[in-house]
Symmetry: C2
Subunit: 101 residues, 2 copies
């Protein structure tokens, strides 16, 4: 399993609209083969900052399966205009976990 | 539930030692009231970069319960010398999740 993690900085005052658009966009990513689950987390200390975590079966499910899909074009249209700056997307592999997760 | 998320940049060449020290330090944080679970994730694209996710019952379980504990002094001694730069620790609240998580 691969974790996609991206810290999102939303343009000032647009967080409410972003949250609505995210819910609209969500089925696009959920329809992709290899999508496992996601979390959208809102930062407590910094306004208009979010952490998006998406778990994929493989790296290619995200970098090819999603990014080369028609769904990604729609996702971009719905969400990318909220970001400033455009975020860095990184992928991680789990090393260590306890039974609680 | 609160998510503590921190991106760790480990000094070049010290990632192996960091992973060993992290496993040694782990029971310190796990012993704190309010600790739920953690994930240590290693970045695929960037060498010596990790994402540490710790879930807590409340924000204070981390900021007071852990950081003011004797266990935190030991945690610092085991781990903080690996970080360069010293990381920004942020906390998040979950907005949105699907049944897969």
């Amino acid at each position: 399993m691969i974790l996609e993690a991206v810290q999102l900085h939303i343009k000032t005052g647009q967080s409410g609209a972003f949250e609505i658009a995210f819910n609209e966009a969500l089925p696009l990513v959920q329809s992709i083969s290899g999508y496992i689950s996601h979390e959208l987390q809102r930062c407590i200390e910094q306004q208009d900052v979010y952490l998006l975590l998406i778990r994929w079966e493989t790296l290619q499910d995200h970098t090819e399966g999603f990014r080369l899909s028609p769904q990604y074009q729609q996702w971009k249209k719905l969400l990318h205009h909220f970001y400033d700056p455009f975020p860095e997307v990184l992928h991680y592999e789990r090393l260590d976990a306890d039974a609680g997760t």
